[in-house]
């Protein structure tokens, strides 16, 4: 095991120079293709953490990525299939960036 470890490549990535490719089907972050959205509010109702806020009148859709637990429940119920689970994580943000 010692010799193998000495002459093999490191098991870790030289992050951030190299990043790991996410797996297919990995639950990273939610994105809504708003142009196809019917604002039916089903995703809002199914969200277990109340992270999604939909306004039918004003035709707005918003997600609080800090509340979202990427459970995929909204994607499963979306009748228009406009919600998509990306395999990449949402980038980290400061409180000031979030409130913008």
């Amino acid at each position: 095991m010692v010799l193998k470890s000495l002459f093999s490549k490191p098991a870790t990535y030289m992050y951030p120079l190299l990043t790991r490719e996410p797996m297919v089907g990995s639950r990273g972050s939610i994105v809504n293709h708003v142009d196809q959205c019917s604002y039916c509010t089903l995703c809002q109702k199914k969200c277990p953490t109340d992270a999604i806020v939909v306004d039918r009148e004003k035709k707005t859709w918003a997600i609080d990525s800090m509340r979202c637990i990427t459970c995929n429940a909204c994607v499963d119920v979306c009748p228009k299939s406009c919600l998509e689970m990306l395999t990449t994580y949402s980038s980290s943000k400061t409180a000031a960036e979030l409130s913008r």
Partner: protein, 359 residues
């Protein structure tokens, strides 16, 4: 007689990122008594049954613990299914068993790494975690999450695994098994490891029984008890026997967990070979009305979920008894008489998970 002093151990201690506090009553370098205290990370998850409906509670159950996440979800779903008399498709049972055993491998490799670090063998710790990473990759590829699987669901599973992926899993598990054999040789045969682990922290068979120890802690003391023998999920369809050891010391606990690593890879192979075709979930209608004690075997031992429904969307009561809680009396039994320097390692041998103990 020497003076007695009390040394506070934790809640912040380098051996464990989780907060458990022990008042160690010492006579010179020897522990005379250990008084445990918990209560720093209580999150009130059981109380959430009043706000979240019984289907949403699956997500909460999965987040009780970051290591045995899937088995928490499975136990909760199993309990609800028993109350509502839901017939879960057989393929879902097999998938649940597969994911349970993958979590057992990653949990045991994590623990072996931590215990190696605690007894001062840092490279062994790194090798254990390097191998664990490969198990996490399989988990991510099949469930979409590395830690929180998110694949448990009342009435079945949320994802299926196609046959090509199942074949790949067998190949990957064989590769992982080969690497696990290399590190297990060091854990079981290395002179310095044996010097630190053999003959210390002995929990006798009678004490283990009397104090209600669970899981590898209990089986290392020679008691044959494993909740998987209740044949939940697909455990009734595969051939296996609980891994046992007789000595009850720290080394015996390592032996049991190393044995369970290879048992888990064998189970994964059997599950994939016998995996039936068919649907993975059924539609759930109505609300649970009744009560059930669900008992399953987590990597750390037996977990109990008491669930009580009253016919409404929200459960009336959910109560979880986690394996670490059951093993705390055992740790207070094995600590007296040992050296202060051995306390961190001794505490680790129960594989403590405080965040699930407090929920």
């Amino acid at each position: 007689m020497s003076n007695r002093t009390i040394i506070p151990f934790g809640p912040q201690h380098p051996v464990l990122p989780e907060p458990i506090h022990l008042d160690l009553v010492m006579e010179d370098e020897l522990v005379v008594e250990a008084i445990p205290r918990i209560g720093w990370v209580h999150r009130g998850l059981e109380k959430l049954v009043e706000k979240k409906d019984f289907l949403e509670m699956t997500y909460v159950a999965e987040r009780i613990c970051g290591i045995c996440s899937f088995i928490h979800g499975l136990t909760y779903c199993h309990g609800i299914e028993q109350i509502m008399n839901i017939e879960v498709p057989i393929r879902a049972h097999f998938l649940r068993t597969l994911w349970s055993e993958l979590s057992r491998i990653h949990s045991h490799l994590l623990w072996l790494g931590l215990v190696a670090d605690a007894f001062g063998f840092e490279s062994l710790f790194m090798h254990s975690w390097r191998i664990r990473e490969k198990v996490l990759d399989i988990i991510e590829a099949t469930t979409g999450g590395r830690v929180i699987f998110g694949s448990a669901k009342v009435g079945g599973t949320r994802r299926d695994i196609d046959n090509e992926m199942l074949k790949r899993i067998i190949a990957q598990v064989t590769e992982i098994e080969k690497e696990m054999k290399e590190i297990s040789q060091t854990f079981l045969n290395d002179y310095s490891v044996q010097q630190r682990l053999k003959g210390v922290g002995i929990l006798s068979k009678a004490d283990a029984n009397m104090l209600g120890a669970v899981g590898p802690m209990l089986r290392a003391s020679g008691i044959n008890q494993d909740m998987r023998k209740l044949n939940y999920a697909a455990y009734g369809h595969i051939d296996w026997e609980p891994v046992m050891a007789q000595d009850g010391d720290c080394f015996a606990r390592v032996e049991v967990r190393v044995g369970e690593l290879f048992q888990a890879t064998d189970m994964i192979r059997q599950v994939i070979e016998k995996m039936p075709e068919g649907p993975v979930d059924v539609k759930v209608t109505g609300s649970p009305n009744g009560e059930f004690f669900a008992r399953t075997e987590q990597p750390r031992g037996e977990v109990i979920y008491y669930l009580k429904g009253n016919g409404s969307k929200n459960l009336e009561r959910m109560r979880v008894r986690t394996p670490t809680f059951a093993n705390i009396p055992a740790i207070t039994k094995i600590l007296p008489g040992i050296q202060l320097a051995d306390v961190p390692m001794m505490l680790l041998t129960i594989d403590p998970c405080i965040s699930c103990t407090e929920r």
